[in-house]
């Protein structure tokens, strides 16, 4: 019985002990509930901060992997002008403001006024630079660190003593100026163009504030290039760590452009424009087999690293589609005769030896067409018609073709349609046909020699590819490959039709080769067989009509004629020293071909033919 009583006491003791412990816990819980406002307590699943991952915009590379558009780390620099020490340190703040103005090259009068305002505005922090380079930030921080701060003025953030012991450069590399009390830098990425204005007309540019691509490849492929750097609410809860934004880099784009050839072509274009006084110009080089654009030079160009400069505004604003003359529509003049003749030969209306008596004028649709020198050239063949670029002859050829066939060929060559080249801002040009409203028969005659129609140099390349490529017309392309997340997509070449037969292509090439040789054209290159045609188009001035005081001088050619590996198109707008394509554009074509054969490793005809014979 006694044992039983003792045993119960032990139970009671344990129960009281645990009971008191439980009461203590409940008391503490109640105390917390009553003394702390639960509304003020942080909510665990909402605690976090806005974070942005360092996502790169995709690179733009040339066909050999040379970087044409990359990225650069820049810093937004915020300076705290508050007075943490409680002392009058206005002098220090003023010195820092002056340093910022000098080092970050601040020219905005409003910003300068804000920084020099006395007394200083109540706001604590001012963003003194948004796109400061590493060099500028380093210089600024060094200068701030070297300032003689009032006694007791803390240099480093509290709790950063270990970092403060590190060298300044180490801190900068790791923390990006995070240890400086007065200055806060946040890194971010912007677009940079290491080759400055090289191929600027092809690449386009990215607005720094909007991070949006404008013109060229940058606009056309903005969605693919865009590195998703959107800000996300990143929770501090370690369980939700995976929800913080991951870098989402944009796709890299490889262009068909050869950067070294592009540079050479741009140099030739710039020098020629300086020499002949043209207002603008473009030179395009294309591989007729694949449609790859190897070079697309356009002038004037802008340094797209500084697109905001006033000098570049006419180009950047792209009024009149002047950002890239390669995709700008214009009246090309006699280069179109190549296609008129191609249509006539293919339709069987004429042959190379078909005779035509040139009387110096022809009347079609109520207008009189004359030759470029207003003279009659007498008996001609189709080859000599092309050689002497006779408007009267080609208007007669178009008349033989008749409107329906003539325009169906032009449609098959892709005139009036976008080529599909992957550049923003391409225009379809303007070509009427016999079914268009307000069409007059006289337009059949003028269109035959490239007047009254608007086409782009890229459209001409596409059409000419049918002649240089055995009748097979390919779409010009500027994108070689897209590389995204480890996968490469290389679009295949696009054959867009066979507007003429293989036989017609060969016949016309022979005719144009012969005509270049006969006239001892300035376009010829020793050792390389070439076919081509000049173009001189009078420019239409509203109210005055067509005037020969201002012209578009062009040349289109391809080679080597037996195995064409390049088509070159040259266009100069309003040259001053001469109005003729044969004097302005043809010699430039020759210079470009001399560079192309070296870059593409195309041997002279003699070597090439001996190699082919050896192979056979």
């Amino acid at each position: 019985m006694n044992d039983r009583i003792t045993f119960n006491w032990r139970y009671l003791f344990v129960a009281v002990f645990f009971g008191l412990f439980a009461v203590a816990i409940i008391f503490q819980m109640t105390r917390i509930q009553l003394t702390v406002d639960s509304q003020e307590l942080p909510v665990a699943h909402e605690m976090g901060q806005w974070e942005k991952a360092a996502s790169r915009r995709g690179l733009i590379l040339d066909r050999n992997g040379h970087v044409l558009a990359g990225n650069q780390t820049v810093y937004a620099v915020d300076v705290d002008f508050s007075n943490p020490s409680g002392r009058n340190d206005a002098a220090v703040a003023n010195t820092i403001a002056e340093l910022a103005i000098e080092i970050f090259e601040i020219t905005n009068p409003d910003m300068i006024e804000l920084l020099r305002q006395d007394p200083r505005p109540p706001q604590r922090t001012i963003t003194v630079a948004r796109f400061a380079s590493k060099k500028q930030v380093t210089r600024f921080l060094s200068a701030v660190e070297a300032l003689e701060l009032p006694p007791g003025y803390p240099r480093a953030r509290k709790g950063d003593q270990e970092q403060a012991e590190m060298s300044f450069r180490e801190q900068f590399a790791v923390e990006d100026c995070g240890n400086s009390l007065r200055v806060h830098c946040s890194p971010h990425l912007i677009r940079s163009y290491p080759e400055e204005d090289l191929a600027a007309n092809v690449i386009g540019f990215v607005m720094r504030d909007e991070k949006k691509g404008y013109l060229g490849v940058e606009e056309k492929y903005d969605a693919s290039l865009f590195g998703n750097d959107r800000s996300l609410w990143a929770l501090w809860d370690p369980h939700k760590a995976d929800q913080a934004p991951d870098p989402d880099h944009g796709a890299n784009i490889i262009l068909t452009i050869d950067a070294v050839l592009q540079r050479d072509v741009e140099e030739i274009l710039d020098k020629a424009m300086k020499k002949n006084g043209s207002l603008a110009g473009t030179i395009l080089v294309m591989d007729p087999e694949s449609g790859d654009i190897l070079a697309m030079a356009s002038a004037p160009r802008a340094d797209i690293n500084q697109y905001w400069k006033e000098d570049y505004q006419p180009i950047i604003n792209n009024l009149g589609n002047v950002f890239n003359f390669g995709i700008k529509a214009y009246e090309p003049g006699s280069v179109v005769k190549v296609l008129t003749m191609a249509a006539a030969l293919d339709a069987g209306v004429v042959e190379p030896d078909t005779e035509f008596i040139d009387k110096g004028k022809i009347e079609i649709g109520g207008i009189t067409v004359k030759n470029w020198n207003d003279e009659a050239w007498g008996p001609q063949t189709m080859t000599t018609c092309m050689q002497h670029s006779l408007n009267v002859c080609l208007a007669w050829v178009a008349k033989q073709l008749e409107s329906e066939r003539f325009y169906s060929y032009f449609q098959a060559f892709g005139f009036g349609q976008l080529t599909g080249i992957e550049l923003a801002g391409e225009v379809p040009g303007l070509v009427k046909n016999h079914q268009s409203a307000q069409f007059t028969r006289s337009e059949l005659a003028t269109n035959a020699f490239g007047q009254g129609i608007e086409i782009t140099p890229v459209q001409m390349l596409k059409a000419i590819s049918a002649i240089a490529n055995d009748g097979e017309m390919v779409a010009p392309r500027i994108i070689h490959s897209i590389i995204d997340e480890g996968y490469r997509y290389t679009p295949p070449k696009t054959v867009v039709g066979h507007p003429i037969s293989e036989e017609t292509a060969h016949t016309l090439t022979d005719m144009l080769e012969q005509s270049l040789k006969e006239e001892s054209s300035l376009a010829l290159v020793p050792g390389v067989s070439l076919a081509g045609k000049t173009g001189t188009a009078e420019i239409y001035v509203p109210g005055k009509g067509y005037t020969d005081s201002a012209t578009n001088a062009s040349f289109v050619g391809w080679g080597p004629v037996e195995d064409p590996q390049f088509i070159v198109y040259v266009w100069f707008h309003k040259p001053a020293t001469s109005i003729w394509g044969s004097e302005i554009a043809a010699p430039v074509f020759s210079k470009v071909v001399q560079r192309v054969v070296i870059h593409r490793g195309i041997p002279p005809d003699s070597v090439r033919i001996s190699l082919q014979e050896a192979a056979e």
Binding site: R4, A53, H239, D242, D246, G486, Y487, V597, G601
Partner: protein
């Protein structure tokens, strides 16, 4: 006789109370083990989460530094810079007549330059969206329980 002895032994009040106490203690021990296990797993998840957070920050920092280095390399390999260096070394661009072509039997030149797919070697496909990284043990138990109970509920 044996049965009545066994009954008396098992019905002994002291033994009965010991059994109850033992059960309570056993429950407490199991509960404590569970709590400790949860604490260990939870702390490991938190530690890993922290590591993930700092790794992500580090990735960003390295990305900015990497971009700067890439930019420097790009600047050093600009066409203009390379040309200057070539000129300093006594090179110049060739003219068409200066090139010599040596026929090599059997060598065929590719019509289109193939750009090697370098980036395919860079991508590493790692699935970081593992539930354990963002799920507490209770959430995991609840999820498993629901999975287990769902067919029963349908019945």
């Amino acid at each position: 006789m044996v049965d009545s002895l066994m009954q008396a032994y098992s019905n002994n009040p002291r033994r009965k109370k010991l059994q109850i106490l033992g059960s309570i203690l056993l429950f407490l021990v199991i509960f404590a083990v569970l709590l400790v296990s949860y604490l260990i797993v939870s702390s490991r998840v938190v530690a890993m989460g922290r590591q993930l957070q700092s790794a992500k920050d580090e990735i960003d920092q390295l990305e900015y530094i990497n971009v700067n280095y890439m930019n420097e390399i790009t600047d050093l390999s600009r066409i203009e810079v390379m040309e200057e260096r070539a000129k300093e070394l006594g090179f110049r661009a060739p003219y068409p007549g200066e090139s010599y072509y040596i026929p090599v039997p059997g060598l065929k030149r590719e019509a289109v330059v193939e750009v090697p797919d370098q980036s395919s070697h860079l991508g590493v496909d790692v699935n970081v969206n593992v539930p354990a990284y963002h799920q507490s043990l209770f959430e995991w138990v609840r999820e498993r329980l629901n999975l287990f109970l769902e067919p029963l509920r349908e019945l």
